[in-house]
C-alpha cells in the first residue's frame, strides 16, 4: 500500500489515540483519559450520524434521541438491578454483554418507525419531523418520574463484563471504546463502498434518477436510518458509562445540533471527519471557556460565539472540513 497523505494522517491519528492514556499518566493528568473516552463516544455517535447525513443526504435533526435511548437502556436496567425490582417481569442487569446489544437494538427499533414516517418527506420537512420526534422523546423522558424525570439516573457502577473485562478502570474503558469506534469505522468503510452504500450515496446525488433506474429508494434509506439509529444507541450505552449518568438532556435538540456540528466541522461525507469533529468540539468546549474567563471573567459561558466563525470559515473554505484540509481533499 502506498503511503498517501490520508493514510499517513490516519496512522498518526491512530497512534496518538493508542498512546493517549500512557501520555496522560506520564504527564500526571489522568483526567485526559476520561476526556479522551468522552471524545471517542461522541465520535461514534457522530460517525453514525454521518452515515445518513453525509453519505445518504438525510439531514436528521434528532439523532441525539437515539443516543439518549441507548443511554436510558443502560440507566433503566441499572435502576432495576439496584432496587431489585423487575421490568415487564425481567430483572434489571448491569451485564454489558446484555445491556450494550440491547442499547443498539433499542436505538435501531426506535429509528424504524421514526424513519419510516420521516422519510415520506425530504428537505426541510424531514429536518422538522426528525426534530419533532426527538423532542417528543425528550419530553417523554422528562416525564418518566420512576426514572428520575428531569434529574435522570445516576449510575454508581459501569457495565460489567464478567469473566472478560473490568471497565471500571478508566484506561480499560478508554480502550474498549476505541476498539468499538475502530470496528464501527471499518464496518462503515465497507458499508459505504458496498452495493448498499452505493445506493444510499446515489440517492443523495440524484434520488429521481435512482427511482428511474428501478431502486425502491426509501427502503434503502430506511435501512441506513435504522443502522445509524442502532449505532447511536450503542454510543448512548457508552456515554452512560463514560459519564455514569443518563438524563433527558442527552436527547435535547441542542445535542442533535452538536452532532451535526461535529460532522460538518470534521468533514461531512467522510468517516474520519466526524471523529475529528467530535474531538475538536469537545476540546474547544473544554478549553475555550477557561481561556475566555482568563481574558475577561464571565465571558466563558458564551464560548460558542467562537464556534460560529470557525464553522463558517470551514464551510466556506473547506467543504470537507478538517479532514478535507488534512487529507488534501480536492472537493
Amino acid at each position: 500500500m502506498p503511503l498517501t497523505r490520508p493514510r499517513i494522517a490516519l496512522l498518526i491519528l491512530f497512534a496518538a489515540a493508542l498512546a493517549l492514556p500512557s501520555v496522560a499518566v506520564w504527564i500526571d493528568e489522568p483526567f485526559y483519559v476520561r476526556l479522551g473516552a468522552r471524545i471517542l463516544v461522541f465520535a461514534l455517535a457522530a460517525v453514525s450520524l454521518d452515515l445518513i447525513l453525509g453519505f445518504g443526504g438525510m439531514v436528521s435533526f434528532g439523532h441525539a434521541a437515539f443516543v439518549g435511548i441507548g443511554g436510558y437502556v443502560v440507566g433503566i436496567l441499572f435502576a432495576h438491578q439496584a432496587d431489585g425490582s423487575t421490568l415487564f417481569g425481567f430483572p434489571g442487569t448491569v451485564n454489558g454483554f446484555i445491556v450494550w446489544p440491547l442499547a443498539f437494538l433499542a436505538g435501531a427499533l426506535a429509528a424504524l418507525p421514526i424513519g419510516a414516517i420521516s422519510l415520506r418527506t425530504s428537505g426541510v420537512p424531514f429536518i422538522m419531523i426528525t426534530l419533532a420526534f426527538a423532542q417528543m422523546l425528550f419530553y417523554l423522558m422528562t416525564g418518566l418520574k420512576a426514572y428520575g424525570g428531569d434529574d435522570g439516573i445516576a449510575l454508581w457502577s459501569r457495565s460489567s463484563f464478567p469473566g472478560a473485562l473490568n471497565i471500571a478502570d478508566h484506561t480499560t474503558f478508554y480502550y474498549v471504546t476505541l476498539g468499538l469506534l475502530v470496528a464501527v469505522l471499518v464496518l462503515g468503510w465497507r458499508l459505504v463502498n458496498s452495493r448498499f452504500g452505493r445506493v444510499i450515496r446515489g440517492a443523495k446525488d440524484n434520488e429521481r434518477r435512482m427511482k428511474a433506474l428501478g431502486y425502491p429508494v426509501t427502503r434503502y434509506k430506511l435501512a441506513a436510518f435504522v443502522i445509524a439509529g442502532g449505532l447511536a444507541g450503542l454510543a448512548g450505552a457508552l456515554l452512560a458509562n463514560a459519564t455514569m449518568f443518563v438524563g433527558p438532556q442527552y436527547l435535547h435538540w441542542s445535542r442533535s445540533g452538536d452532532l451535526i456540528v461535529m460532522v460538518v466541522l470534521g468533514g461531512i461525507g467522510t468517516l474520519i471527519g466526524p471523529v475529528l469533529g467530535a474531538a475538536s468540539l469537545l476540546l474547544l468546549e473544554e478549553f475555550v471557556p477557561e481561556l475566555m474567563d482568563m481574558v475577561h471573567a464571565g465571558t466563558g459561558e458564551h464560548w460558542k460565539i467562537v464556534l460560529g466563525p470557525v464553522l463558517l470559515g470551514l464551510v466556506l473554505f473547506a467543504r470537507k472540513g478538517i479532514w478535507g484540509v488534512i487529507a488534501g481533499a480536492r472537493r
Binding site: S194, R201, D205, R209, K211, A212
Partner: protein
C-alpha cells in the same frame, strides 16, 4: 401487431391546460417509434406518465399487457421501462463507470449487500464497461460525471438507460444540445440498437427521426395529429400544415 406499450385515452391536465388530451398510442414490440411535435406539445409530459413520475388524470397505460397506470416509477423500471431525461440526470459525484455500474446494479437484483466492495465486483464493473464502450465513452470511464462535456453527459444518460437491460427505452431528446458529430454518432448507435430493444424516441432533429423511425406519431397540443410510417407522415397534409411544413423542406 402486438403492442408492447399502449395508452388508452390518456389525459393529463395542468390547471386548465390539457398537456395530454385523450391520447391513444401503441408502440409495437421491436419498433423504433418516434414522437414528434412542436415545443410544448406534451411529449415530455407523456414520457413522464409512461415512466410513472406523473399520474394521468384519466385513461390507462398498458405495458406488456399489464395495467401500469398507477405503478410506482421503480417498479416500472424493474419491469423493463427505462428512460433517459431531456435534462441530463446523472450522478455528478460518481465516475462515468460508477454511474453505469449503479444502473447495472439496479438490474442485477436487490442491493442489501453491505460488505463487498462494489467497485471491484466484476458482475457490475464488466457489464458497465461494455455499455460505456458501446456509447463511445470507454476512454472516459474514470472521469467524474460532473466533469464530462455536455455531449458526453448525454451519452452517459443513454448508457445508464441501456445498462438496466430494458425492454422499452423512452428517450427524451437524446441529442439535445449535441454537436453535429456527436449527433451523428448517436444516430449510428440508435440504428445499432434498433431491433434489439423497443424504442420510443422524442426528437426534434427531423433528419434523425426520418432516418431512424419505423413509425412516427405527431403530437400537437396533447393530441395525436397523425400516426404512420415516415412516408405517410411526410405526405400527410394536416401534418405539413400544422407542423412539418418548413422543417420537411430540408429533409
Amino acid at each position: 401487431m402486438t403492442a408492447l406499450l399502449r395508452t388508452e385515452s390518456l389525459v393529463k391536465r395542468f390547471g386548465g391546460l390539457a398537456a395530454t388530451d385523450g391520447l391513444s398510442l401503441a408502440v409495437a414490440e421491436g419498433e423504433l417509434h418516434a414522437l414528434i411535435g412542436p415545443n410544448g406539445a406534451g411529449k415530455t409530459t407523456l414520457i413522464g406518465q409512461l415512466a410513472g413520475e406523473l399520474t394521468p388524470d384519466e385513461g390507462r397505460i398498458l405495458f406488456d399487457g399489464r395495467d401500469v397506470t398507477r405503478m410506482p416509477v421503480h417498479k416500472r423500471a424493474q419491469r423493463g421501462l427505462a428512460r433517459s431525461f431531456q435534462i441530463t440526470s446523472i450522478f455528478p459525484s460518481f465516475s462515468a463507470l460508477d454511474n453505469v455500474a449503479l444502473a447495472v446494479q439496479a438490474h442485477a437484483g436487490h442491493s442489501f449487500r453491505f460488505w463487498r466492495d462494489a467497485g471491484r465486483d466484476r458482475r457490475l464493473v464488466d457489464p458497465a464497461r461494455a455499455v460505456l464502450e458501446r456509447v463511445g465513452l470507454g476512454a472516459r470511464a474514470n472521469t467524474p460525471a460532473e466533469a464530462l462535456a455536455h455531449g458526453e453527459k448525454r451519452q452517459l444518460e443513454l448508457a445508464m438507460a441501456l445498462a438496466t437491460g430494458p425492454r422499452l427505452l423512452l428517450l427524451d431528446e437524446p441529442m439535445a444540445g449535441m454537436g453535429p458529430e456527436e449527433s451523428a454518432r448517436m444516430v449510428d448507435l440508435l440504428k445499432e440498437l434498433k431491433g434489439t430493444v423497443t424504442i420510443l424516441l422524442v426528437e426534434h432533429d427531423m433528419d434523425a427521426v426520418f432516418a431512424l423511425a419505423d413509425r412516427i406519431t405527431v403530437l400537437v397540443r396533447g393530441k395525436d395529429l397523425a400516426s404512420g410510417t415516415p412516408a405517410e407522415i411526410r405526405n400527410d397534409p394536416a401534418v405539413r400544415e400544422a407542423y412539418l411544413g418548413d422543417e420537411l423542406e430540408a429533409v
